[in-house]
């Protein structure tokens, strides 16, 4: 008897993993916990804290968001297909959590890049403020997401993005020559 129960529970769990449950305004209610996080009541389940994860962070920032439990196992609770379909208050709450999770400043101006001893020292302006960082040359520090979009990962694993190299000035693009 015991054996069958354990087995059927495992089967149930694996079946649940297959399920795609869409979260929308009707079946779910998000609330701020007041301590900086987000709780969720969906159907008859309650989660005191949830994590919002982008499934396609480079392609669809606000679509296909996976809402998950924040612990080690991180099980998926449901999927939000389009952020904009949710109520405006909810959208704000979810955006807060997304902002908390992802940090990739966009480089708006390149003041200078100096390369020395196999490392390149960048001095830039981003949408979050001025910043200096160091990347390792000769590694995979600069990733081409497309022909004109690059992601830069520095030695501390911070990330920076230049969405369109062509939008930079000519002199700035020249500085990037080494890395393209």
């Amino acid at each position: 008897m015991n054996e069958d129960f354990a087995l059927s529970q495992m089967e149930q769990e694996t079946d649940q993993m297959l399920r795609i449950r869409y979260i929308n305004n009707e079946n779910a209610e998000f609330t701020r916990t007041g301590t900086g996080f987000l709780s969720l009541k969906i159907e008859d389940e309650f989660y005191p804290r949830v994590q919002v994860v982008r499934m396609f962070p480079f392609m669809h920032k606000d679509e296909f968001l996976s809402v998950r439990t924040p612990d080690e196992r991180s099980k998926e609770i449901g999927i939000i297909e389009k952020l904009s379909d949710m109520a405006p208050e909810t959208v704000a709450m979810l955006q807060e959590q997304l902002t908390l999770r992802y940090f990739t400043p966009t480089i708006t101006k390149i003041f200078g890049i100096k390369d020395e001893y196999g490392y390149a020292y960048w001095d830039v302006m981003t949408n979050y403020g001025a910043c200096r960082f160091t990347i390792q040359m000769g590694g995979n520090a600069v990733v081409h997401l497309s022909d004109t979009r690059i992601l830069i990962i520095d030695i501390d694993e911070n990330r920076f993005e230049i969405p369109d190299i062509m939008a930079l000035s000519n002199s700035e693009r020249k500085k990037l020559d080494l890395f393209l």
């Binding site: 087995l7 495992m10 916990t33 900086g36 940090f103 910043c131 590694g139």
Partner: protein, 726 residues
């Protein structure tokens, strides 16, 4: 790594430290919740409280006794820190990835303080950049720049030359003679023209003497240059070889994490390409460097002495040709760079598709891949065509323009000759010197680039050579014969220390015991094995071998006593015989055959056409998985290891191989302390004890029967496997 940043006086005042309260940890909160950079916000933990300072204000404080834990959670390229009170989690703030590792220590820091103890947590990890000057630290504890090692490169360069002093002396001698000859030739020509040909003495003898002299000079210069080139290339090759050896040795010494952090291609580049650049520098640049500089100076002086007006004219145009050739070279470099990128792209595409041809075919994507390749090939062809056209059209133009100075000199000089202020011989000499001058100037304009290449290569090589291996034999390490008693004491480890893979592991293994490691995929079984193999070191706690800290045993000595059979059995390019003898190259044939028989490999080897001499190519390609594994087992056995590590292959082989391998492993593990990541039920049953790892910790320990009776995690895993197999 710094765990306590210094606070300004104002911030310190904000903390309002009470009596007997001191700051233990102070870490920056360098971004706000929206992500904007901040420069004056901190998380402060004293022995009594946790404080949050934000841009000059104290915004939160908690007593340590009010909190259960303080936790930091890595996010995507950033992290958050929060305090746990019962069920609630209170967010304190955010920080960039730079501080992820630092914050991970706060958890333990608070636990220690909560227990009423006063120890401070110290991190032995290295900073990534120097706190003083901001330069990146290449895996060293101290900043080479701040220590004044700036002249490092030049001293590296001199170090390289030291062993070759004699050769250098000869080269220098040749350079001086080349200088002399080059200067003398035009002088003889002048004498020939002015004093012999233009006089009507019909002094044939003298003329022939001059011609003979010129011939000797020309031939001489050829020989001297040839000898110089030969010696310099040889010097370059020797130096290149020295550096290659040094690099390879160093890379072998460095710990596994250094190599796994980088792509093998990059390391190969250092050893192959950077040393080649150094060799090229000697062969191409160095051998001409001094000659040309001396000649340049001498020629300038001569020209000024001969006819200073004409000399100045020539000098004025020199910069013009320099500018032209620099602009030209820059353009060429950009073109080649672009061509290189497109060529790489095309090659990568090709390699990808050809390696994965089986996949392409089975999904029927040949047409699409062909189209994609067409595109990349087109891009490459376009660039290449453009480049070729460019060279074909502009090279002649450039050559013409570079000669402008000479035409002018000839014109004005010619006028001078006609007017009688210069002799034809002098003009000839002058024009010769001018061409020499321009060619030197041209050559020297390429110097900055050559130097930059050399310096870059020296830097990259120096970078590797200055790395300190993170796992070394401690100075007081001893040689120890392993008995087989292994103990894990409060061991914690993470490849990135802020993301632990194993937490607080306690386990005692007795001599000769076979331990089966079980657990879901990715729970830390391979990690435990890596720690036992001393390829990585625990972040916290210790591992004892026969009561001795594993760090106190000499690495080479320890490794020579371990046998390893992994999932992917890597066989080096070579014969089966050499692969089996890998750990013990001086083994006798009898020993080899003995272990091959024990591993149930002897029979299939004999059936191969070349027997033990069969060449197993890259990754032992010609053999099946089961055959490779049996050779690996034989290899492990040959050394008679005291400790055995076994990482079972998950793929099930045909029943005959399975049975043979099972028997072979049985013989291998008999009487040896063995750690096996077990997947086969038969292995699990044979194990003396099973250790179930779940959630970064050891969940259950016991024999197969004991754990089944417990009906816990192990029970569930076995059930699932049985269900699947049936």
């Amino acid at each position: 790594m710094i765990l306590k940043y210094e606070l300004s006086k104002e911030n310190l005042a904000l903390c309002e430290l009470k009596a007997e309260e001191e700051i233990y940890y102070c870490l920056p909160l360098d971004i706000d919740l929206e992500g904007n950079y901040r420069h004056d916000s901190y998380t402060v933990m004293t022995n009594k409280r946790v404080l949050v300072l934000e841009e000059g204000r104290l915004t939160r404080q908690f007593g340590i006794e009010e909190c259960d834990e303080i936790r930091s959670e890595p996010q995507i390229a950033c992290g958050i820190v929060y305090v746990v009170q019962g069920e609630k989690q209170l967010l304190l703030g955010r920080f960039t990835a730079k501080h992820l590792t630092r914050y991970s220590y706060l958890f333990r820091g608070m636990q220690i303080l909560k227990r009423g103890r006063t120890e401070r947590v110290i991190s032995n990890e290295y900073e990534h950049s120097c706190p003083k000057c901001g330069r990146a630290l290449p895996g060293t504890r101290e900043c080479p720049h701040c220590l004044g090692k700036k002249e490092g490169l030049f001293s590296i360069f001199l170090e390289m030359l030291k062993p070759h002093k004699k050769r250098l002396a000869v080269i220098l001698l040749l350079m001086l003679s080349a200088t002399f000859v080059t200067l003398a030739n035009p002088a003889i020509q002048k004498y020939l023209v002015d004093d012999v040909l233009l006089r009507d003495n019909k002094e044939y003898g003298l003329a022939f003497l001059c011609l003979f002299g010129m011939f000797i000079m020309s031939a001489g210069i050829v020989f001297i240059n040839a000898a110089k080139s030969y010696l310099c290339s040889k010097l370059g090759s020797y130096i290149g070889e020295d550096q290659r050896k040094k690099l390879f040795d160093k890379i072998q010494q460095l710990s596994l994490s250094f190599i796994t952090d980088r792509s093998p291609g990059e390391l190969m580049n250092r050893i192959v390409r950077d040393t080649a650049r150094i060799k090229d520098f000697f062969a191409d640049v160095f051998c001409n460097l001094f000659t040309i500089v001396i000649l340049f100076v001498c020629v300038c002086i001569y020209m000024l002495v001969l006819n200073w007006r004409l000399a100045l004219l020539a000098f004025v145009f020199a910069p013009f040709s320099v500018v032209l050739s620099i602009a030209w070279k820059k353009n060429i470099r950009k073109r080649f760079h672009l061509q290189g990128i497109k060529s790489d792209k095309m090659n990568n595409n090709l390699q990808d598709v050809i390696s994965g041809m089986a996949v392409v075919k089975s999904y029927g994507q040949e047409y699409r891949e062909a189209e994609h390749f067409d595109d990349t090939a087109d891009e490459f062809a376009k660039i290449q065509k453009g480049n070729e056209v460019f060279f074909a059209v502009f090279y002649p133009v450039l050559s013409f323009l570079l000669g402008v100075g000479i035409y002018l000199v000839t014109y004005y000089g010619g006028k001078g000759v006609l007017l009688g202020s210069m002799t034809p011989g002098e003009l000839l000499q002058f024009v010769n010197y001018t061409s020499l001058l321009y060619s030197y100037v041209n050559w020297m304009s390429g110097m900055p680039r050559a130097f930059m290449n050399l310096v870059t290569s020296l830097e990259r090589i120096g970078d590797v050579l200055s790395q300190e291996p993170s796992i070394v034999s401690l100075p007081d390490a001893v040689e120890h014969e392993i008995e087989g008693e292994i103990e894990f004491k409060n061991a914690s480890f993470g490849y990135k220390s802020y993301q632990p893979v194993l937490e607080n592991v306690n386990l005692t293994v007795h001599k000769g015991e076979m331990i089966g490691l079980v657990g879901a995929s990715g729970t830390g079984k391979s990690t435990m094995i890596n720690l036992i193999m001393h390829l990585y070191e625990v972040d916290d706690g210790e591992i004892l071998v026969d009561g001795i800290d594993i760090r106190k045993i000499r690495l080479e000595n320890y490794h020579s006593q371990i046998g390893v059979v992994l999932q992917e059995n890597f066989l080096f390019a070579g014969s089966i015989l050499n692969n089996i003898k890998f750990a013990k190259p001086d083994a006798s044939y009898e020993e080899v055959i003995g272990v091959a028989k024990m591993a149930n490999a002897h029979d299939f080897i004999c059936k191969l056409p070349d027997g033990y001499n069969t060449y197993v190519g890259e990754h032992g390609y010609n053999l099946s998985g089961g055959e490779r594994q049996r050779i690996a087992i034989a290899r492990a056995m040959l050394n008679n290891p005291r400790l055995l590590i076994l990482d079972e292959a998950t793929a099930s082989l045909d029943t005959e191989s399975e049975y043979l391998i099972q028997k072979a492993i049985g013989r291998l593990t008999k009487g040896r302390t063995t750690f096996a990541i077990a997947h086969r039920l038969s292995t699990l049953k044979d194990a003396d004890r099973l250790v179930v790892i779940d959630g970064h910790r050891i969940a259950e320990v016991g024999t197969h029967e004991e754990l089944l009776a417990r009906k816990g995690i192990y029970y569930g895993l076995v059930q699932a496997q049985l269900k699947v197999r049936l």
